[in-house]
């Protein structure tokens, strides 16, 4: 799965923000704020990845145990799906 191409992640004034472009902007005209780990997970999803790969990347980057990483990735994906931001 990967994040839809019509969204762009940038750091502005130290904050990670996601804005829609192109067709994305037709459906949604807001701004999404991501925290540090959210921005990190978003970036992993800019290329096609599996949930397992995302967990592995999170474990690599952050000092968290596997259980917590699994839960965080699952929660992130759930939110992304609810917001209709993922292409499978």
């Amino acid at each position: 799965m990967k994040v839809k191409k019509d969204y762009m992640l940038r750091s502005v004034a130290g904050y990670a923000v996601v804005v829609p472009v192109g067709e994305g902007a037709m459906n949604f005209n807001g701004v999404i704020n991501l925290n540090d780990s959210g921005a990190f997970l978003w970036k992993t999803m800019e290329n096609d990845v599996t949930e397992e790969q995302m967990v592995a990347a999170l474990l690599d980057e952050y000092d968290v145990d596997e259980e917590r990483a699994n839960a965080d990735v699952a929660a992130f994906i759930k939110k992304m799906r609810e917001a209709n931001l993922i292409d499978d």
Partner: protein, 247 residues
């Protein structure tokens, strides 16, 4: 076919300098934009950096989407949108706001239409003196980074009024205005400021320009403070705003 499209206009073709950018515009004579842009006419060497002109076919097509507007009103909107779109390549964007200049510093007041942006800058003129202040632009001033400095510029796209001046002035602060019984100014977090700034500018549709706009906002927010201004229509409102943006 819309009967309005049968109207025939004489055309003017002039060189302008707007926000420090050399612009060539082909406009309908006597139109809103042709009239308001008079004081931006200035000769320059070589090719324009931006060319703006809305041909009859495009004007009729776009006007049909908003039939309540006259053709010349549509031309005004479309030329403004075109300028805004091209501006990003020159490190600039337009912010929907009323901009007042005092002591050679520009203060921008932004809000959704009808909140009282222009009312507030009118209070500044009354309080700080008609001779010591002027309206840089009453609707869509440009914010542009020139030689590392954040400047605010007047543009001929100044809304219902022709209050605009063809100068660039250091940008001292931006306020998002809310009506209130009492006057209060508070710093806005950069996180909120990003949302509000993006709400009050024309958002680029293509990714490349959006990317440039976000980079530009990043730079602007690193040197210009953004505030929330809750204010009424009394003189004190201007004084509170001025003090809050000069701390």
């Amino acid at each position: 076919m819309n009967s309005k499209s049968q109207e025939i206009f004489e055309v003017s073709k002039e060189k302008y300098v707007i926000s420090g950018i050399n612009v060539g515009m082909i406009l309908r004579k006597g139109g809103i934009i042709e009239t308001q842009a008079q004081k931006y006419i200035k000769d320059f060497e070589g090719y324009p950096q931006i060319v703006i002109g809305i041909n009859d076919g495009r004007l009729a097509f776009e006007n049909a989407k908003t039939p309540s507007l006259s053709l010349l009103e549509s031309e005004y909107m479309l030329t403004g949108a075109k300028f805004c779109e091209e501006l990003i390549a020159f490190d600039g964007f337009m912010l929907h706001s009323s901009a007042v200049v005092y002591e050679n510093k520009a203060y921008l007041f932004s809000a959704p239409s009808g909140t009282g942006k222009s009312t507030h800058t009118t209070i500044w003129r009354r309080v700080f003196g008609e001779d010591k202040t002027f309206i840089l632009n009453d609707d869509k001033p440009v914010i542009r980074i020139v030689d590392g400095k954040v400047l605010a510029f007047g543009t001929p796209w100044s809304g219902k009024t022709d209050h605009n001046e063809n100068v660039g002035v250091p940008l001292q602060g931006i306020c998002f205005v809310e009506r209130s019984e009492t006057n209060r100014i508070m710093p806005m977090s950069p996180k909120d400021a990003i949302h509000r700034l993006l709400d009050q500018t024309l958002r680029p549709q293509n990714g490349e320009n959006m990317s440039k706009l976000l980079d530009l906002l990043d730079k602007v927010l690193s040197s210009v403070k953004v505030h929330t201004l809750q204010c009424n229509m009394e003189d004190e409102a201007a004084i509170v705003a001025y003090n809050g943006m000069n701390k």
